[in-house]
Symmetry: C2
Subunit: 208 residues, 2 copies
């Protein structure tokens, strides 16, 4: 798969590091083109460039940008019709105390409204950058990546990316399930920071 | 601890079975007083009676009643000032497709408004009755019971009940964290039923 990573802060760097080692072709996009190119070079197998270059190259675009800049970032991608857009964000309020959207909608659904031609998939929002950048293996097993979206093939592509980077994908149904996954991301943030468990935590759905 | 279980359908029966075997004193309350007494007798160590008898007896009251009858049930308990009320419900819409309340409030917070003198604790809403009634031990370890509430001692009492019945309690902070725990309950229901994983599933927070 041709994968774009949009943003090179914590989550973007984590994805770049883990996907660079897979069979997939990675293009790192940043507002700071030089920095994206440097990161790509230091990783070895990836390319770097602008948001637009990265999005134009890829079949799957991972949006590793914060919620409050999402609209600007989406506008900078160019035409993303038919492409898979992976929304990994947690739409926090500016003071980080809660969610900015929810209940009757979700960040994922709001993103889908902005780029109706893209296949939006929610995933990875419960995975901390600290987990993504280190090992996702816990004593109990792999961390789960909860995935939802309205396009079956797009979800399968994201599931494959999750598997290839060492996670266990869990299909949570339609994109509207983001209304439950985003509060789970918020719970994760609450446990890691407010409840001071630290950010090396992850959820696993146990089955019998 | 003196524990009341309000309701003898799936969750209530599960609590009755697992708490009857602990050191705690259990009083099973039902609208059907005879049935509550029968259940208590068949279990061996518990008492049975009306909602009011059960609530009057207990320090900790587990509300194993559905969301849509909650107001009536709370009214039937009598004075619960100073007591610990454990809200285990998932406030589903009548067609089970989503949550009835959320985002700026939660079932737990709405219950606290109805009985302001009680110490409301949210817990167990992500534990299926099928898990509660069978074994809560999974290959990976114990199922987590996510707990939140505004009274520290009340949370500690509920944590002890969770531990004594074989779960691992996870303190999620203030009662308003129910805004994230209730969507997690909904996600659990969605995975178990709509995504057809079955109801013998449970979440575990993995830590390094």
């Amino acid at each position: 798969m041709k994968v774009a990573i949009i943003g090179i802060v914590n989550m973007g760097t984590g994805f770049a590091k883990s996907l660079d080692k897979t069979k997939h072709q990675v293009f790192i996009g940043s507002r700071n083109i030089e920095k994206a190119k440097e990161m790509a070079q230091s990783l070895g197998n990836s390319q770097g460039g602008s948001y637009k270059d990265a999005a134009g190259f890829a079949d799957v675009i991972i949006l590793a940008a914060p919620w409050h800049s999402m609209k600007d970032v989406l506008n900078a991608l160019g035409d993303v019709s038919g492409k898979v857009l992976v929304d990994i964000c947690n739409p926090l309020t500016k003071d980080f105390s809660g969610l900015d959207v929810g209940f009757t909608t979700s960040a994922a659904e709001e993103i889908a409204k902005i780029v109706p031609g893209a296949k939006v998939v929610k995933a990875f929002n419960t995975i901390f950058a600290e987990v993504l950048q280190s090992s996702h293996k816990f004593e109990e097993g792999l961390a789960d990546v909860f995935i939802c979206g309205d396009d079956k093939d797009a979800k399968e592509m994201v599931s494959e990316l999750a598997r290839d980077s060492g996670y266990e994908p869990v299909d949570c149904g339609a994109l509207s399930a983001a209304r439950w996954l985003e509060p789970l991301g918020m719970l994760n943030i609450n446990l890691g920071y407010m409840q001071k468990m630290g950010a090396k935590i992850a959820f696993r759905l146990m089955r019998k």
